[in-house]
């Protein structure tokens, strides 16, 4: 029996470039209308509309008990789809039929109020996610135990560590009892141990016949959890079917090497009113007249951005991820005050560090060491080729990194002949 039937769903946005500075003000609208009333044609404001299809003609159906992974790049339409299924946004055309109680988990700790205590937030978040107060009361102790926040129940969540905050948020949603569960990227946060625990909890839930829709960049998690998958690209559903097969297609279509991205003017550049990305580059220092990166190659990562704020304490944070979305390491710069202008950061990844494989780099611009202003996910993609010397073994070298730490071997005691 299919519990979700999606037929020809499309979502269409019009991006208005003339007003495109975020929030409209009444003045803009009034003054534009005046100009149109009295202005001659030469004076008319040129407004360019750009059409954008976040989703286009998407159809699929989900059977009861299926665990469906949704994969694709950023901007492929995955989140838009989840928001339509959650009734948060309306589709432009098409229809969706859902049978059963739905709980959507688009964020960990939706509606958490920093001033309220853990206890109060459990009730707030639980009822936002559709639990009744008696249901919450029944599960309360279990939620608290799962999150491990017993001691801090009556502390405002603003005093929680980010780990506790995430654990509490997830614990509540893990104890929801809907027939269909929609989950977006929530496993991207929290420490590895907790991720494993959450994944386990979700798998237990699905064993009891629950349908799960799961978006993640972490292909390992999708493979571990989902039996079916959907692959989206630019708003279209490119492939659906068994998870392993869909992920293989996805990986084969991922554009392999991209070492430089550059924008000429802030208007076209990705970012927001505070900061915009100017240039991202990975500069390999090729060895032995090579033209590709291998495990020996040191690389310089360079990042430039426009800062529009008058003065702000900024730092950069760089994540290096495996192709399956797992973060291998994260390095940050010092936080320093900057005025408006172009700011550049540089980081060196030494040779003999990364193992062979494909990697992506995400960069984050952070204010006051806590507030991420802008995150550019998967900004660069590159491959590291294998290189071995004096080794007769050619199997896949295990691990994400292949450092050459000092490792000595020597005869301790010679056997007496």
């Amino acid at each position: 029996m299919s519990v979700i039937t999606v037929e020809n769903i499309s979502k269409h946005y019009i991006i208005d470039h003339q007003k495109g500075k975020g929030v409209n003000t009444l003045r803009d609208v009034v003054s534009e209308n005046f100009r149109q009333l009295f202005g001659n044609k030469k004076n008319q404001v040129t407004t360019t509309h750009e059409e954008f299809w976040a989703l286009r003609d998407v159809s699929f159906s989900v059977e009861q008990g299926d665990r469906v992974g949704i994969v694709g790049h950023n901007g492929a339409g995955k989140s838009t789809l989840l928001k339509i299924l959650s009734k948060i946004i309306e589709p432009t055309s098409g229809s969706v039929r859902i049978r059963g109680r739905v709980a959507s988990l688009l964020e960990v700790g939706t509606g958490f109020h920093p001033e309220l205590t853990g206890r109060e937030n459990i009730f707030l978040n639980g009822s936002l996610l559709g639990m009744s107060r008696s249901e919450i009361r029944k599960q309360f102790d279990e939620i608290v135990a799962f999150a491990g926040v017993e001691k801090f129940l009556d502390t405002p969540v603003k005093r929680y560590s980010s780990g506790m905050y995430v654990r509490l948020g997830f614990a509540i949603s893990a104890h929801l009892d809907p027939e269909i569960m929609i989950v977006d990227e929530v496993l991207a946060v929290g420490d590895a141990e907790f991720q494993k625990k959450s994944l386990g909890k979700m798998r237990d839930n699905s064993a009891s016949g629950r349908t799960i829709l799961f978006v993640s960049h972490n292909l390992t998690a999708v493979q571990a959890l989902c039996n079916k998958s959907l692959y989206f690209e630019k708003g279209q559903l490119l492939e659906q079917g068994e998870t392993n097969q869909v992920i293989a297609t996805y990986l084969s279509k991922v554009s392999r090497t991209r070492l430089l991205r550059e924008w000429d003017t802030p208007e076209q550049a990705p970012g927001n009113d505070l900061v915009r990305v100017k240039r991202i580059e990975l500069i390999p220092e090729y060895q032995d007249e090579l033209t590709h990166i291998d495990v020996r190659t040191p690389m310089k990562f360079r990042f430039e951005f426009w800062n529009m704020m008058d003065s702000a304490n900024l730092n950069l944070s760089m994540h290096l991820n495996s192709l399956t979305g797992e973060c291998i390491f994260n390095v940050g710069t010092k936080s320093q005050p900057y005025g408006p202008g172009v700011i550049a950061g540089e980081c060196t990844i030494p040779g003999y560090f990364l193992n062979d494989g494909s990697y992506t780099i995400s960069v984050m611009i952070v204010k006051d060491t806590v507030t991420p202003l802008f995150t550019m996910e998967e900004s660069l993609t590159f491959d590291v080729e294998d290189y071995r010397e004096g080794i007769a073994w050619y199997g896949k070298w295990p691990g994400y990194v292949r450092p050459q730490f000092p490792f000595h071997i020597g005869m301790l005691e010679e056997a007496v002949k």
């Binding site: 003000t25 299924l85 948060i88 946004i89 589709p91 098409g94 969706v96 509606g111 936002l128 009744s132």
Partner: protein, 276 residues
Amino acid sequence: MKTHEVLIQPGRSERHYWRDLWRNRELLLILSMRDVSVRYKQTALGMAWGLIRPLTTMLIMVFVFSMVAKLKGDPGVPYPLMVLAGITIWTFFSTAFTQISNSVTLNSNLVTKVYFPRLLMPLSSIAVSFLDFLVSLGLFILLAIWYRFLPDWHLLFVPFFVLLAVLAAFAFGLFFAVINVKFRDIGQLIPFIVQIGFYVCPIAYTSQLLADKWWYSIYILNPMVGIIDGFRWSLLGGKTYFNPQSLLASVALTGVCLILSVYFFRKRENTFVDDI
């Protein structure tokens, strides 16, 4: 288990909207409790602020209008009592109105992440102002005891005027809440409207003073005139000036605006996510 089927289509807002709203009454309660408990967090005086504000406003009004401008109140009613009654209902209306107007934008983090009938946001924002209203009403009772003023059966009408004030705040606030999503100018405009309203409405003075002016019939078109005068009239034992005609304007205008703004809100609520 009964199956619960949902159909999502463009332009088709939830068919069972009002039933959904009723089902979510627990959420309404919890959202209201959130606003109430957050209100005075990390303040040293806490709920006392609900007393301090109307009390100081009243003292200033009494000083300026009664002692400096030598305005006269209604005969047989102590001027401070008359002013405090007016301030109480006006503050209730204006804070409710302000909170409702800002309710959607203040909850934008919810709008983009979870579905619930959007009307819950303006509805839940009334709670805080109602609590302040009760505190202020308590202050009024104390002052009435001080002046040895005894109310009578007119008190029975108090709930009616309070309800009317809520409905009026809702009718006007809802409209601004929708516009506020797209045009944040509203945030600037609201305090201004409230400030003007304070002088336009009969709070520090009795509207009897204006009864023989040629523009009086226009003046009573202000729906708040009937509500404030009526509230004061029922609280002060029918001794203050109250023109039933002004109540007619209040009821009619509030009713029409309420229907229009709920319709407007329902029509626009599905676009909140895209505009916010």
